[in-house]
Amino acid sequence: MSATLVAAGGSTPTLRRPSYAKYVGGRVLGALGSLAFVLVVNFFLFRVLPGDPARTLGRGRFRTEEQLEAFRATYGLDQPLPQQFLTFLKNTLTGDLGVSLRYRVPVSELILDRLWPTLLLVGTSTLLATIIGIYLGMVSAWNRGKTVDRVWTGSTLTLYSMPEWWLGLLLIATLAVGFGPVPGMFPTGGLHSVDADPGTFGYVLDTAWHLALPVTTLTLAYLADYALIMRSSLLDEIGEDYLVTARAKGLRDLQVRRRHAVPNALLPTTTLVAINLGFVVSGAITIETIFSIPGLGLLATEALSIPDYWVLQGVFLVASAAVILANLLANLLYGLLDPRVRT
């Protein structure tokens, strides 16, 4: 419906797909809409939900009416709601996310500080999970119904059904603490040893040693998704006519798979990887908690117990923005790889 007739060369009309630029424009607008929506949700979640925000935010810390008034004045809660919303918008857009009730430092600083461990943890795990997951999915699909397929699909389904932090607890109990004949080989938590010297090669090794278990846990948790989607999208491709054509041309099975089936089956997987990248914070929350890695996830769970609302709000905002950005990226990538979706 959006394929447009364009007069090419002035005489013969040709059918042309909508341009990529237009597609990009539409997607960017959509992402901006989502972002605006997230801002609105963010504002209302913390101000309009049941009860007096000052009381909720202060959670019993204020005894007198004056203290409440002072608190309201500090956070601008005494102003009318539209005014509050404008202030909130202005602050958020200028990077002012409030001050942490616990650490007494600006939330934006806190978040920037905690961003790197999370990115390191989740980035490494995603990379590993993508490679291993796609490989496992391919092996399963080629050997559909055979023992290899049964074993891999069974294991990936079990991994998929497992709370990833429980797997982490098991790994801590066996490989970090040591259980029975298995000696403890890895640290139980943290990102560095106390005595590690930043900037040296030993420091890098030390970090890798500390990240081994958390990265393993997250990789196992993620790869289930990728393996399952890769398997099913490859199976979708296997029945297609163009593969029969390729084989009829005289290509060997291996070539047909490598050059024709896999690139097409990779499309949905690429999208999934890009979208999952957006869920960095979500994935990191529980894993960082059990391995006490000082990232955004741990920041969020620590904020829960106070509860440190501005930190929670900030993390929530960053988490949503990451998903929106990743979605946009996935769409743009997909539009580039597969012109059919540019509608």
Binding site: G30, G33, S34, F37, V38, V41, L45, F46, L49, P50, T56, R144, L157, T158, Y160, S161, M162, P163, W165, W166, L169, L170, I172, A173, V177, F179, T188, S232, L235, G239, G278, F279, V281, S282, I285, T286, T289, I290, A300, T301, L304, S305, P307, L312, Q313, V315, F316, A319, S320, A322, V323, I324, N327
Partner: protein, 300 residues
């Protein structure tokens, strides 16, 4: 002339029974789905029979009879927790809470998702478009952070946890139902019904909804799995009802007292295994159902 003509209602009932029988026959051919169903049945039975299987006194911290984190013995087949309560008793009663919250959350998510999906697919024009936009917007809000924020704002109770999970998980269902509605809407028999004078409400409730229902049902089973996983995670993070024992809250306790560093495996392994078994069973049953209602998937 011996057979009396059947009434419309009788014909309807016969057709429904016939369809159910066919679905069941189809489902039975999926071995993994059947295994999942049996395991699920076991867990549901345990949850229902909890008062018979284990005295609810065993949940009380003050009336606990065992030692702290005692290993498995004849009296406590799965050892004791940090309060001296039998882990097996906690596990049995935890099944109730975990299943209940999972099912309730799914029900909430399904009702919202189906309503939004049906309306946004059925009504073209601005109401449908707005609902679709809203669904898309909700879809990008990351699930766990939203659930954390909601749970911390709403306070800790069973109902709130279910509400949080339900509210955070409906957009996926809504999109599925919408696309299904859109494809059913184009079928000729709907045009026929419209020509015969059927109103929008009749079309939607009598023709579209029954056709979307099997899909909803299969999707529900898969959603329960996710809801139970989320309940476990939220409870593990300390957002569950503090007065009730669920598998997630047991694992939270185990983590807090450092059961994995003291080698108290009986406090960590059983609750997790239960979660995996239940979630896996729901997933297997859901996948089998999906293949039954959507034959296109069958060649996988």
């Amino acid at each position: 002339m011996t057979t009396t003509p059947l009434s419309a209602r009788q014909i309807g009932r016969r057709r429904r029974n016939e369809a159910l029988r066919r679905t069941w026959a189809e489902f039975r051919s999926h071995r993994s789905g059947l295994v999942g169903l049996v395991v699920l049945g076991g867990f549901i039975l345990v949850a229902l029979l909890a008062p018979v299987l284990a005295d609810s006194d065993g949940l009380s911290v003050t009336r606990a009879t065992g030692g702290v984190l005692e290993g498995p013995s004849a009296e406590f087949p799965l050892g004791t927790d940090d309060n001296g309560r039998s882990v097996l008793t906690l596990l049995i009663w935890g099944a109730r809470i975990s299943l209940f919250v999972g099912l309730l959350a799914t029900a909430i998510s399904m009702v919202i998702g189906t309503l939004v999906g049906l309306t946004s697919g059925f009504f073209e024009g601005w109401p449908g478009r707005i609902l679709f936009r809203l669904t898309e917007w909700f879809l990008v809000i990351p699930f766990l952070p939203l659930a954390l924020v909601l749970a911390s704002v709403l306070g800790r109770s069973l109902l709130n946890i279910a509400l949080v999970i339900g509210v955070a998980s409906w957009p996926g269902t809504a999109l599925l139902i919408r696309s299904q509605t859109l494809s059913i809407k184009e079928r000729p028999y709907l045009d026929r019904a419209r020509v015969l004078g059927a109103g929008r409400w009749h079309l939607m409730s009598r023709h579209v909804l029954p056709n979307v229902m099997p899909m909803v049902f299969a999707n529900t089973t898969l959603t329960v799995a996710i809801a139970i996983l989320t309940e476990t995670t939220l409870s593990f993070l300390g957002l569950g009802d503090p007065t009730r024992v669920s598998w997630g809250s047991m694992l939270d306790d185990a983590f807090t007292v450092g059961a994995m560093t003291t080698g108290a495996w009986w406090f960590i392994v059983p609750p997790g295994v239960c979660v995996v078994l239940v979630v896996l069973s729901f997933t297997l049953v859901g996948q089998a159902l999906e293949e039954v209602v959507n034959p296109r998937l069958r060649r996988r």
